[in-house]
Amino acid sequence: MARNERYKTAAAILFWVAVWQLAAMALDQKILLASPVTTLETLVRLLPTGAFWLRVGFSAARILLGFFAALAAGVLLAAASAAFGLVRALVQPLMQLIKAIPVASFIILALLWVRSANLAALISFLMVLPVVYTAVLQGILAADRQLLEMAKVFRLPFGKALRAVWVPQVWPYFLQSCAVAMGLAWKSGIAAEVIGLPAGSIGEALYQAKLYLETGELFAWTAVIVLVSAGFEALFLRALKAAGRKLGGMNL
């Protein structure tokens, strides 16, 4: 992002924080709307505690497990769908179904199948899978036929064709889906925790804050989710861009 753009984004964030502060002051009901100052105070109180980091670690581990498993499964299923019509015919309706089913229905259903501690991993997996599958399949199907013919004529070994022809063409689609999917994984994973209430999770902390009307804590945990999700997204996308450049000499 250019420096000018960064300033604009920072100014926009400051503007909305100011609106939030003014709204909280006007309402003057801490239970209904905690102010940014209260939220920050709560956050500062939570940050040095071990329990806070344990909760973040607990939720992050499960949500990221679901996310990465879905990336792997999405890419493999997309490749298989592009190669075999039968696989595509079988998998595509399933992906449509997963996309259409409300996440709350999945969470309640999944509670019957898995322990609540692993619920976030399963739900993140299910929410991310169709996003990655659809994007990667689209990338494969949109690949330049002329380059694929070149690879065929010159009998490029699979590894070379993958690095030089396939990866550079599919990578932008994959990257785009990852940016969307990381946020989705966190949102759905935390929603699963709020319903399943696994001990030691962020979702449980959110639920307890709501139960005891600790609105400041509710806002602080929400801010934590937003920050952690954005942090992981930025880190992961940076790593993916670096990997892309290394793999295919791509200038992303």
Partner: protein
């Protein structure tokens, strides 16, 4: 090593492009025909990218080709595009070939997407000529090259053929004469 077309017919959407074509390709072969007469279809049949509607195409050994389009991997440099199709340790040969074809040190560092039309054409030519193959198909290989560069490319291509059979598709009499061999006119 040679390629044989035996009573080959190929059409698209019910429109025949090649009709009952029989020919044997060995040594130098130049194909000259107006646009739309099936030159590229013939090349695609030989390369195994199309199957004939009837008749038989037999190719012994491997083929390399310079397509009508450059078909370079846009993110790779000129040298990387050439070595991509060559066995390990071909960097020196690729560098020598590209320099002989008039690409500068600076051109060699650029991704193919940043090369000019004439530069990309020469990279595609070097790739076809350096790939391990027993026969080479060049579809308008010198298109877009100016006088001196084209002459240089023709001389280099003839030397790089090294006894392999060639099918040169061109509209240019001068190029056809430079390669000699049998000329097919449709």
């Amino acid at each position: 090593m040679k390629a044989v077309l035996d009573h080959v017919t190929k059409g698209y959407g019910g429109q025949p492009v090649l009709e009952d074509v029989s020919l044997t390709l060995e040594g130098m072969n130049v194909l000259m025909a107006p646009s739309g007469q099936g030159k590229t279809t013939l090349a695609r049949l030989l390369l195994g990218l199309e199957t004939p509607d009837s008749g038989q195409v037999t190719v012994t050994g491997r083929l390399a080709a310079q397509f009508q389009e450059d078909r370079l991997c846009p993110q790779l440099t000129a040298v990387q595009n050439v070595t991509l199709v060559c066995p390990k340790g071909s960097e020196r040969a690729a560098l020598d070939a590209l320099e002989a074809l008039g690409l500068t040190e600076a051109d060699l560092q650029k991704p193919a997407a940043q090369l000019s039309g004439g530069q990309a054409r020469r990279v595609a030519l070097a790739r076809a000529m350096l790939a391990p193959a027993e026969g080479v198909i060049l579809d308008e290989p010198f298109k877009g090259l100016d006088g001196d560069t084209r002459q240089r490319a023709i001389v280099w291509t003839k030397a790089a053929l090294a006894g392999r059979w060639l099918l040169l598709i061109t509209h240019d009499e001068e190029e056809a004469n430079a390669f000699g061999g049998s000329t097919l006119r449709w």
